[in-house]
Amino acid sequence: MEVERLYRHWEIELDWAPFFLDPSIPPEGRPRQPQAPGSPETPVEARGKRLGLDFRRGRTFTPHTILSLQAGEFARNHGTTQQVLDYHRALFRAYFTDFENLMDVDVLARHADTVGLDGAALRQALADGTYAGDTTEAIEHAYAIGVQAIPTFIMDEQYAVVGAQEYETLERVMEQLHAKRREVPLPDPHAPPPDE
């Protein structure tokens, strides 16, 4: 995915924040009509394919994602950046390709183990609600600052890039941010010391 590419090519500090895409989904999840098999490929499907993520058709259920978002917070707190990237990709694939239920703690723990996180510790954290407060707070915060679509990339705490943009778009923002930093003049080594 674009963010993985960004992480490989730029020296960045990567972080994640949870978001409820559809707050109307009830806690038990919601049945959904599967997409008609013969209908044309959607832009999202085409994009996913280019990024190595198969948006397979036939899903009949949309989960409530609070547990998976808490699992993401667990990964963020316990894993390396690469592990968090891997975990996110694993959960995307679990949902979009393999039709796994992201409300199932077994699914969340198994994928945690797969990427080198501690699945048992994740189970315990979910049972204890260790990250429930932080997750809810972060979701509320995302709404409060106006995030309405995902992914939203907050770039250097200055710009919001919204949606599945092409990688080149993210790269352009990175270049602009770097250029902005370079515009700041270096201190004059011959200047008198500032007044105390």
Partner: protein, 61 residues
């Protein structure tokens, strides 16, 4: 993957307005410690050192 929330009218949604979140955070409410500094006291360019920070806001569906 570029999916938009049905936020308008939804319990947590921001009704109406642009689909594009605000650029920058001046005046935004504070709340989450991860972004609090950026929102309430964005560092000046000359204070920005080290790697650029990228935060990905996302759901899994």
């Amino acid at each position: 993957m570029g999916r938009e929330s049905p936020a308008p009218g939804a319990p947590h949604g921001r009704p109406g307005g642009s689909q594009r979140p605000p650029v920058g955070y001046a005046g935004a409410p504070s709340g989450h410690p991860r972004w609090e500094m950026a929102m309430t006291n964005p560092p000046a360019d000359e204070e920005r050192t080290g790697p650029l920070r990228v935060t990905v806001v996302s759901d899994f569906i």
